[in-house]
């Protein structure tokens, strides 16, 4: 099961030139819980090359949103930056597999 399977929308955006924030929107409480269980701050950090302990996860149950904030993978606009607004990094998160143990029925 991928992040894409439990989210209706994943949005990435600069939070200033030095940080990136990623909002994962779920349609149901069940999906939100699956995302909560299956996508840690560490996973997001590994996927986007952020150092250990630099990713913050915010759990917003009422909105059925999980938000990750991290140092931007490269300062906005600096040499080598590929995406000034940081929006396309959402796709890396969308494609991640959730860390779930699938239990066979019966």
């Amino acid at each position: 099961m991928k992040v894409d399977d439990v989210c209706t929308r994943v949005r990435a955006k600069n939070a200033g030139p030095f940080r990136l924030t990623i909002d994962c929107f779920c349609a149901s409480v069940g999906d939100w819980q699956r995302l909560l269980d299956g996508l840690s701050a560490e996973r997001v950090g590994q996927a986007l090359g952020a150092g250990a302990g630099t990713v913050t996860r915010h759990e917003l149950a009422e909105l059925r949103v999980i938000k990750f904030s991290l140092p931007r993978p490269g300062v906005q606009g600096a040499l080598g930056d590929r995406d000034q607004h940081g929006a396309q990094w959402a796709l890396v998160i969308v494609a991640l597999n959730l860390d779930v143990q699938l239990v066979a029925p019966g």
């Binding site: 955006k13 600069n14 939070a15 200033g16 030139p17 030095f18 940080r19 924030t21 909002d23 929107f25 996927a47 986007l48 090359g49 913050t56 915010h58 917003l60 009422e62 909105l63 949103v65 938000k67 904030s69 140092p71 993978p73 300062v75 906005q76 606009g77 600096a78 040499l79 080598g80 930056d81 590929r82 995406d83 000034q84 607004h85 396309q88 990094w89 796709l91 890396v92 494609a95």
Partner: protein, 502 residues
Amino acid sequence: MVNSDETRNTPPDEPYRTRVLVPSGVLGLGFDREALARGVRMAPDIIAIDGGSTDSGPWYLGTGSSKYSRAVITGEWCELLDARHTAGVPLVIGSAGTCGTDRQVDELVRISREWAVRRAVPLRIATIRSEQRAGTLLERHAGGALSGLSSDAPSNEALARALSECTHIVALAGAEAFTEALATGADVVIAGRATDTALIAALPLARLGADGLGNASAGTGTGTGTAPRTDPADGEAYRLAAGAAWHAAKIAECGALCSTGPGSGVILVDIDRDGFSVRALADEARCTPFTVSAHMLYENADPNVLVEPGGRLDVSRARYRALDERTVRVTGSSWRPDPRYTLKLEGARPLGHQCSSLVLVREPRYVQRIDEWCELLEQRIRADVERHLEVDPDSVTLELRRIGVDATLGALEFERGAPVEVGILLIVTAPDADIALDVARLANPSMLHLPLPDDEAMPSFAFPWSPAETVRGALYGFCLDHVVEVSHPTELLRIHSEWVMP
């Protein structure tokens, strides 16, 4: 027609209400004209719009330029001056011309003066200039007034160097600067870089008065009085009232992005001492508890806290309630004053000069072996740089981005398709412009004709342009992630007002 009712949803403490009309998330992005006219008829106390951000990258600050078309900015600003004239209330803009440098403030002043002459309308214009001199900040830095916002902020020495190398530095003005500018009786306030929220929060905050309780006699429109720094010991009533003003400002700062019709632009917020209500004014747009509360997430690293000069907004106890199908009432947000008053700094410095070149590879044999070809191409260009140019090869950076393969995500790309064609974008970064151009020219024959080892001697690929090279000019980089502590909110800002008498 829900919006035809112009009195509904008025909060119970009407005398304390400040009605702010926000035409759009940023000047230059367009707005729904019918919705704006509707907002003007609804008797706002002020019209407020943001003019910029760092969103589009460091070049705009580095060069002091605006991102949007001059024609569009002029047209939209004149429409807003007309709306202001009809409504008879102040019009406020912050972060003029994307980057908010002094020159961009001057540009909007020029457009405003021309409008006043053309319409034969006297206009009092107040300006807030927030551009900073490196020398001033270096002195403050030596006195320990600058502090980094992240753990990997540069050392003192590196920070001093960065300050010296910046072509432009701006400080983000807070609400007090707008209050002071409005207190001159200004019809129009044009500010350089400011926080997106300050221009919206300023008037309701000024009306709260320095005693921490609402001051109904503050009236509407201009004449808000002076704006001393609010005493942090004002108590819970003040914290909730100020929290409502700041939270309303955060929700409205991107215009209709807090609604179901983000492209329509126009938003109206009614701010009182207990909370605020927000509604979208375009026919197709609705504010719902979800769209409004979700907007607090936008561009903000912490969904519950928004840091501003002089304190922070805490929305962790905010409640969102639908008043009708397009209006949301928000209560419970709180403002926590900070004992230090700081202004965030933004600076951009040149990091070299760039030249780019684009070649299109459509030949299937090469598309299939594009990794190998790009590797050969890079080796060839590097070898040629070493052979022909009298520069330190390490001072020249070559990037070959493969459009159609992984140009967007680079090493983070996780999918591999079978593209029909691949664009090879060469980006050269060098210490000066002549070297960058010469390296790109030196690369041209290889980009045009380089064969795979087992292929015909001289294939030819497609260049879309002549000349093949595009001179990109200087590359700029953001280099300040710092705040400067000040003893008064407007200490590093310059506020000025003038009459234009046609």
